[in-house]
């Protein structure tokens, strides 16, 4: 294997692609958690998004409908979670776990007829530049629009939370729902919106897997990425930019360790497979050491049930 410049460019491009579903799902979950809601159903919502996107693509032969449909399916399934936790006041953790189990089961059932059907090429942008620009070509160009969106999203999220009124309201609700309610903010509505937003992005993350990253339907194809996204949010201490860093590290080392296995490094395979998890945690813990900042970013009411006095 030659480590020439163009190979490194391609490698970086593939690392970026592999981190997209994590960025999307984690950015969505981040907003949900910032409003004080702990939704452990990320994996379930992603897999539902993956099968809905793929099935719609096969049925309608229209990628646009498939992408929108996958997001809507994420929204719908998160609405179940929202209704249970916000309107019926069920426990966030148990409901989220149930949602994941439900999502995996439902997707396997819906997906039976779609196994083995080949996917479709997803349009990529600037494909000519990818070939003509050396090194940066494969990094910057020739990706799907979803990838560009994913890499801008953490910055938008950060801007939303820090600079906009709505972002302020989301943070306020996550900090103290009782105070927010006493200020006349409709806590339940805000939390519903954040849950649905998170659901939509998880659906999109799933569709990215089944339509773009490995264009086909395989049962249980999210393979734990939802859980990684959840962990990223916590280890990144609810900071969108750190989520991006964490997702890239995780994606990067996942890809790198495959290459290392292929080259035949004399390191046990099990260790290589564990490496992405290990490194991501180490890096995120190191960059999030400031206990003061953690306190300011952590949604104080996370996972606690809120109900309005009558």
């Amino acid at each position: 294997m030659s480590l020439d410049i163009s190979f490194i460019g391609i490698l970086i491009g593939s690392i970026m692609a592999s981190s997209v579903p994590l960025i999307l799902a984690a950015s969505g979950e981040l907003i949900t958690e910032r409003s004080g809601v702990l939704n452990l159903g990320v994996e379930g919502m992603m897999i539902i998004g993956a099968i809905s996107g793929f099935a719609l693509m096969v049925i309608t032969d229209n990628l646009f409908i498939a992408i929108i449909g996958s997001m809507l399916s994420g929204v719908v399934i998160s609405l179940i979670f929202g209704f249970l936790t916000q309107s019926l006041l069920t426990n966030h953790v148990a409901t989220g776990l149930a949602l994941t189990i439900f999502g995996i089961g439902l997707s396997a059932m819906l997906g039976k007829d779609f196994v083995g059907i080949p996917g479709k090429d997803f349009p990529i942008l600037f494909s000519s530049l990818r070939e003509s620009v050396p090194f940066f070509g494969p990094i910057l160009f020739g990706h799907s629009i979803i990838l560009y969106f994913a890499f801008v999203l953490p910055f938008l999220t950060s801007y939303f939370l820090k600079k906009t009124k709505l972002g302020l309201i989301v943070r306020a609700v996550g900090d103290s729902p009782v105070s927010a309610s006493n200020q006349g903010i409709n806590v339940i509505l805000v939390r519903y919106c954040c849950i649905l937003y998170g659901g939509g992005l998880c659906g999109l993350a799933g569709a990215y897997l089944s339509l773009i990253y490995t264009p086909q339907w395989i049962e249980n194809m999210t393979a734990g990425r939802g859980w990684i996204a959840l962990a990223l949010v916590v280890f990144a201490t609810w900071s969108p930019i750190k989520v991006l860093i964490g997702a890239i590290i995780f994606g990067g080392i996942s890809i790198l360790q495959l290459h290392m296995q292929a080259v035949g490094f004399r390191i046990p395979v099990q260790f290589l497979i564990a490496l992405p998890y290990l490194m991501t945690i180490i890096v995120l813990v190191v960059i999030s050491r400031d206990s003061r900042k953690i306190k300011l970013n952590t949604p104080t009411s996370l996972g606690r049930i809120f109900y309005k006095e009558k």
Binding site: K165, L168, I169, R171, A172, D175, S176, V178, S179, A180, S181, N182, Q183, G184, I185, S291, R292, K295, L296, N297, T298, T300, E309, K310
Partner: protein, 499 residues
């Protein structure tokens, strides 16, 4: 423009409790009104109704003869009713400015200008860009007041505003409130502190068990008359004989107590040294958040600090955990009854069993000896006049006063040599406070010692033989309490010096 607020026949019934029973009151601007009552008298329910947090089952509210429909806090805001709750409605992790801007309708620039005008006008000194969790309780309250003022309120309701303030801060607050009143804002001041009513308010309405029992001019009232109206019976006066004597044995001695924490919510303690004599009550005053929590936890053994020496009855106990310290006859009553002293979901007798001793035989061969625990619990309930004899009752259904009696009873029934308590009467009503003060004095009379960490200066002056003040983790010199005045304490609590 004059404001006239009228409450007419308000009733609110919760399962098993009539919180407001046909309450009618009338308020006019230009005066400060007190709403006085014990805990559970229905004051908080009434103000929650006025601020739209809850809606009444019956009755109406009129502002300038306009019938108000207050079904959400927004309605109260729109009708220019401002409210400062006892438990602040602030977002701790957001900055002061973010807290104020969250419900503002104008853009940030003009809002900042308006806030600065208010800060200047009322002489408030607050940095707008720090997170609220960095502020003192007094500053947080000012943020709440500014939030109300930004909406140019006609009515300002203050719910137990001084429970977290120092004497100085209280004085400042009173000056501000009088200013607001002169500017035509109608002020309703809710409290159970009688002296405040007399020094601040023009008219006072007393509530008891959900009903208004009296409305009168404060100039016609005295502390005793108001107390009797509030409680519905005559209260005995408590006075302690100070028994500070130099030649008694030291039973408890702390040397080189240092504590360092990375947590921004915790206070570091710097070289604390003190001792307690037999039969003495050592009071430790201070505004909450100056290290009392940490001190209590170190004294009780929840936190073990290196290089500290704690001698108790001639034994070194600095390395022992709370259970081991209890075996040496220490007892503890933490500040937070619900989360630290008792488990609210457990029954009374189970809570009693939590405090088990080797000698108590509550557990035999790993099994719970229920009969024994229940007998023991019944004795506590009757000895400490807890208002129930049902040991199967879940502790969360006890009122604050009864729960505190239960906790003190649990601690004291083993006849400890030293009781360490932290804000034992916090949030309790006059009757319960009286009982607990009597109990604490009785302990000293029996030649047992107490350390009383409290934020209530009046309580400290009443019960302590010697007093020290803790400020930012440092302890002042220890003074005999007959040489101490509330003013002196206030200066020390605010970080000043009296020499």
């Amino acid at each position: 423009m004059a404001t006239d607020l009228r409450i007419s026949n308000i009733s609110k019934i919760y399962p098993g409790c009539v919180a407001n029973d046909n309450v009618s009151l009338q308020f006019k601007s230009g005066k400060i009104y007190a709403l006085l009552g014990e805990n559970g008298a229905g004051k908080s329910t009434l103000v929650k109704i006025l601020s739209g947090v809850i809606s009444p089952d019956n009755g109406e509210v009129f502002l300038n003869e306009k019938n108000l429909k207050l079904s959400s806090p927004l309605d109260a805001k729109k009708n220019k009713i401002g409210m400062v709750f006892q438990h602040f409605n602030l977002f701790e992790t957001l900055s002061v400015f973010e807290n104020l801007s969250i419900d503002a309708t104008e853009d940030n620039k003009s809002l900042r200008v308006r806030i600065n005008e208010i800060l200047k006008k009322y002489n408030f000194n607050i940095d707008l860009d720090v997170p609220v969790l960095n502020l003192s309780a007094g500053q947080k309250q000012k943020v709440e007041i500014i939030r109300c003022l930004l909406r140019s309120p006609k009515v300002l309701i203050m719910d137990e505003p001084t429970s977290v303030l120092t004497e100085q801060e209280t004085e400042e607050l009173f000056i501000s409130l009088k200013k607001f009143c002169d500017e035509g804002i109608l002020i309703i001041y809710i409290t159970h502190k009688l002296k405040e009513v007399l020094s601040l308010c023009d008219e006072v309405a007393v509530m008891r068990k959900g009903k208004v029992v009296s409305v009168s001019q404060t100039q016609n009232e005295k502390v005793e008359t108001l107390a009797n109206k509030m409680v519905g019976q005559k209260l005995a006066k408590i006075k302690k004989k100070i028994n500070f004597s130099k030649n008694k044995d030291e039973i408890f001695k702390v040397k080189h107590l240092n504590f360092y924490s990375d947590d921004p919510f915790e206070t570091n303690l710097v070289n604390l040294n003190f001792s307690v004599k037999k039969g003495e009550c050592l009071g430790i005053a201070g505004i909450s958040g100056n290290g009392q929590n940490e001190l209590f936890q170190i004294l009780s053994g929840e936190i073990i600090t290196p290089n500290t020496s704690i001698i108790f009855r001639n034994k070194e106990i600095a390395k022992l955990n709370p259970k081991q310290r209890r075996e040496y006859l220490m007892a503890f009553s933490p500040e937070d009854r619900i989360s630290q002293a008792a488990v609210p979901e457990l029954k009374i007798y189970e809570n009693v069993a939590l405090n088990n001793f080797k000698s108590s035989n509550f557990f035999e061969k790993g099994l719970v000896n229920e009969r024994k625990i229940k007998e023991h619990s019944k004795k506590i309930l009757s000895d400490f006049s807890v208002n129930t004899d049902n040991v199967e009752l879940k502790s969360q259904f006890l009122s604050g006063g009864n729960l505190q009696k239960l906790i003190l009873g649990r601690e004291l029934i083993t006849a400890p040599e030293l009781l360490i308590c932290y804000n034992p009467t916090w949030g309790l009503d006059v009757g319960a406070i009286n009982y607990i003060h009597e109990t604490l004095i009785k302990i000293n009379d029996q030649e047992k010692s107490t350390i009383l960490i409290s934020t209530d200066t009046e309580e400290l002056l009443k019960l302590s033989d010697r007093i020290a003040v803790i400020y930012k983790g440092k302890l002042s010199k220890i003074m005999p309490s007959d040489e101490v005045t509330p003013e002196k304490l206030g200066i020390l609590m605010g970080g000043g010096s009296i020499d």
